[in-house]
Symmetry: C2
Subunit: 242 residues, 2 copies
Amino acid sequence: MDDIVKTLARISIFKNTPPPLLQNIAKQAHASKHKKGKVLFIHGDKAQNYYIIKNGHVKLFRETLDGTQATIDVLTKGDIFAHTLVLEEETYPYSAEIVQPGTIISLPLSDLREAIHTHNDLAVAMLQTVAHQYHQRERELEHRSTQTTSQRIGCFLLRQFQNQQNDSLAINLPYDKMLLAARLGMQPETFSRALSKLKKETGIRTEGTWIYLETLDKLSSYACPACSGRFPCADLAQKRKE
Amino acid sequence: MDDIVKTLARISIFKNTPPPLLQNIAKQAHASKHKKGKVLFIHGDKAQNYYIIKNGHVKLFRETLDGTQATIDVLTKGDIFAHTLVLEEETYPYSAEIVQPGTIISLPLSDLREAIHTHNDLAVAMLQTVAHQYHQRERELEHRSTQTTSQRIGCFLLRQFQNQQNDSLAINLPYDKMLLAARLGMQPETFSRALSKLKKETGIRTEGTWIYLETLDKLSSYACPACSGRFPCADLAQKRKE
DNA sequence: CGAGAAGTTGAGCGGCATCAATTGTAGTGG
DNA sequence: CCACTACAATTGATGCCGCTCAACTTCTCG
């Protein structure tokens, strides 16, 4: 219980939520451990809960009528999803599946809806979060049309690198390559080929799920020209130099 | 002045805003008519205003470091933009250019920020709007990877059709084909070819900027299989039958 | 009526998908 | 512990979709 409150407190939308309210919210929380392959909900189900990942990985995806599957995102520890439905739709606009076993906390959307109507700070925090995610989607959309597959992988590595706290130049891929390929909107075969190309072009080395790079510059100067800059990628090389 | 209030009242985020507050907001509004080609702001400028389109068209876009331009969206009468920066960034994440002359209302982001902190209803309405736009982006991203160019045009026509109030089976393209091609993420040449293909496959007819279709079914059964359904497109044919 | 842009059409090319075969790897049960 | 199986990952061959470059036609507007 306290455990749940602690997890919630770290979520961006609850960052400034007063502890009493947080505990109230946590009362309706339901944490459960899931195996790989477990489907939390399916596109079209009535939307009742939103979710927070305590650990493990969750894939959000849709299937088109002709059977192909489009991966929307792969989420990790500390991520929240389906919260955007709080005021909007009555059904989930995508499906969610556990791809790496872990504990997921589910909370009723109705409670959240009530909370944002009564607690302005929460509504504002949530607006900030969703606006941020909106901008990320815009960037993603840009990447899909301007970057080649190799650049897209390079860009992903840079962001991955940016997220990790230590200064090591080694990156461990957060999940397997098939999933990563889907996340980046390409086929596994294409991913494999694009990665070898990236190795040739930028001199990175790989070893299983580990990626080693000597300099950031080479990678960013390869991937970032296809980006609109100003954003993380461009600043990254600079930050590191300081 | 009253004019501006009336325009504002029709914007989704101000739908339930009490008139006094709305008039207060309108006080800082600044409406001005712009010619085609006028750039309202550039990617990277300090973000100070958000905008509402009274009439005309505005293109949002970014340029990558290697010079290519990515069109993010083309907006019309009644649309709002840059409002997502209210809590977020300090600079605009894209550029905005007038592509169809018209009147644009600009309002200070700082006022909006203050207003959402003091008026919960406004914060909630805005959250709803942004969440909705977020879902639209998700759909857009899906379309880019699952639909062919012809299907993407078909899908656009269906949505265009859905937006118009009358029951006529004629659609007038909202802006010229070059721009539409950019908006749909393809080259003008590709657009032209894709449209002829669409004509062959679905039996639609064209005449200048006008598109005539006999049935919706043919169009939606051509374009929608590559969609994840449930969403507008799928329901559309049904709705019309009633 | 002429200039310049929008739009169309053709030829050629490249990137990514698809299909297929092979190798690598992790998990299972005897 | 090893053999077996299933799936991840790589590599090759082939094809298609959309981009690029270029020429030509149509439209728009001064």
